[in-house]
Homo-oligomer: 145 residues x 4
């Protein structure tokens, strides 16, 4: 179990970003050439990674963040604590990649909106940090259904 406060755990934040950076070469983006990788921490303490995978039928493309989260759930995880995101055109990490609206919505299914954090990173030392509530205010989630 991970029983610390991720918002204050600088070491874990760095580790998450490093894990995302490691996977970036696997990003499969032959159409947009916009490569993205993500690493997601769950309350078990395990870290799961994903990359964006583009389909020739563009609308079936998956983002890195959802790829990581869906895989984690397939491994039995339920409670999402943090997601780190890195990427850019041709894998050059020149911007802070923020999650798209669809990924923010899926984070809402598995993360607590006030304590879950998203790290949009260039390097393990250079990132922007937001809570899910900051990224998806006025939201609805599983409690609404």
């Amino acid at each position: 179990m991970y029983d610390r406060d991720i918002r204050k755990d600088e070491e874990m934040k760095k580790l998450l970003i490093e894990k995302a950076v490691e996977k970036l070469p696997n990003s499969f983006a032959p159409y947009s050439h916009y490569n993205v990788a993500a690493a997601a921490l769950f309350d078990s303490g395990e870290i799961y990674t994903g990359v964006n995978v583009e389909s020739s039928l563009l609308g079936l493309t998956i983002c890195a963040e959802r790829n990581a989260i869906f895989h984690a759930v397939a491994e039995g995880e339920k409670k999402l604590l943090a997601v780190a995101i890195v990427g850019g055109i041709d894998g050059k990490r020149t911007e802070y990649c923020v999650p798209c609206g669809a990924c923010r919505q899926v984070m809402r299914d598995f993360g607590d909106k006030d304590s879950m954090i998203v790290l949009s990173a260039k390097t393990p030392e250079d990132y922007q940090e937001n809570t899910l509530e900051e990224l998806l205010p006025f939201s609805f989630g599983p409690e609404s259904i």
Copy 2:
């Protein structure tokens, strides 16, 4: 052309909500029984409507807001000014329906984040109003690609 400021045009806001309410009976939600309808105003002055349509393959379900926007683009529209949303379980309008993250992201493709508004409504007189920027802060859109 619609050349007014939608944020100050109370008459148009009411009309949008009324148009959404009119379509609500067409919502096709046999699995969730959560019925939603939307009306979207474009800069031509035309209003387009949509409802949520659920597929038996749940992941192919479309929301009311995107249904309205995608149809509008098919009719030649490009610039989205406002979207009104109504709905609830069994079509009962007991809550203010906010757009999901995926719909917010698609709004970002066709709307100006600072001036475009979303009306989450119960009745033409009872609604919450937000700019797209308020609903999807720290966003990216077509300008990033």
Copy 3:
């Protein structure tokens, strides 16, 4: 009501293809430059059209066929009889556009697999015709849930 057998109604097939061709200029495909339009006949006798609409978040892209079908349902339709599809790179109709797997699945929700037809067309006189069953054999649909 449309009470003829679409498989034998050459006039209606031509009309569907013409309606799709007319909408092709509205296709919004700034990323792939692969433009597609579709026209869908429902049992009311009404024809609904759609185009592909690409999102800067590629995975939120919608196909022409689903755009037409979802709009039709929003207008109260339930029973899909036929879909005509036209398109190609830069809107040049040099190939027979077949529907993607996701669109075939959504057709399955509203069409009868043995009698519904898909027309993949270059011109109103030059098209390939398939039943939904031919395009999506061994399928499941709303009856399975």
Copy 4:
């Protein structure tokens, strides 16, 4: 590397189905209660698993097959050889689960349509086998773009 012909490798087929069955308890389907798991063999010889994960925003739901494939690509895989699928209401394996059209389309991005196989299984001994071409005839894929 896996250098055998999967269509004749009964042992591997059984193993794939067993791997899918093992993951079935992780299926997250709180809305449909239709649980599905999949196992995918790539040409490296590695097997990747996935389950369906439903979102409270139904349209963001992912199928088991795509979950497995997208994760495999994130791990560096490119060439898909076979997918086994198991599942049913409340996880009871009383039917042969076929892949939806969207999953068939994504298989088309990574599998050879004539040699790739899909196993719709109840048990390791009781399954239906189809090539991708049988499941998605008249298809298009990455070669078309």
